[in-house]
């Protein structure tokens, strides 16, 4: 539960601060950012989110059940945290797509920051999934 609260806290901090400095995987985005990078980020995001969709499709865990190899189920608190991050990532990604579609050659700093923000929101989703082995151990 403590880890879950910590993960939710990270998500909340990112949402509230629009923070671009924190990155769990220390991924550094360099300019220029182009449409292909944005599109592939979206495909990566969709694939990561598909793990969450599969996780959500598992039966709901009974109260006080620890997830293990034979009790395969989803935890509603964790799923709620994932859904909250997904909403943040959706908004951030939509902003990048809007920018790249209206500024196809966009290489401005503003574009890079948008991209970075979207990437970090998606990274948080992936890190939550990794933390809880959603999609299996990696």
């Amino acid at each position: 539960m403590k880890r879950l609260i910590a993960a939710a806290g990270i998500v909340s901090l990112l949402l509230l601060s629009g923070c671009t400095a924190f990155n769990p995987f220390a991924v550094h985005v360099t300019q220029p950012v182009n449409a292909v990078m944005v599109y592939q980020l979206g495909n990566t995001y969709g694939t990561a989110k598909a793990l969450a969709v599969g996780y959500a499709a598992l039966p709901l865990c009974p109260p006080a059940v620890q997830i293990n190899v034979t009790d395969v189920c989803h935890d509603k608190t964790l799923l709620k945290a994932i859904a909250a991050d997904v909403h943040a990532a959706d908004s951030a990604y939509a902003a990048v797509v809007e920018f790249v579609r209206t500024n196809p050659a966009g290489t401005s700093l503003g574009f890079g920051q948008l991209f970075d923000t979207a990437k970090q929101a998606i990274t948080v989703l992936v890190s939550i999934e990794q933390q809880y082995n959603i999609g299996g151990p990696r």
């Binding site: 449409a35 599109y39 969709g46 694939t47 598909a50 969709v53 859904a83």
Partner: protein, 100 residues
Amino acid sequence: MDLSKIIAAVGSAAATMEPIATTGMPVGKFASYLVAFINALPAIEKGFASAQPFIAAGLVLIASGGKGITDAAWEKQLALLTEQTSILDQQVAKDDTTNG
């Protein structure tokens, strides 16, 4: 695929088999793992089906040499992402009305 028939078959096979020689794992335990896996299959299939269009779009983009991101491609991608979020939201709402 009729999962209930598979589960029943695994259960009856487990009752008659000796412990698996190579691992020493009791057959009952092996059967419970197998049943858990079979029960998880529909969720795994949903996850894979949800990922498939994104993987396909990525491969198409690579095959095109990074060209051809049309308005339709952007719209389709955004629609798929929205659909995934909707699935998650619906499950969260459903969980809120269920004990768990």
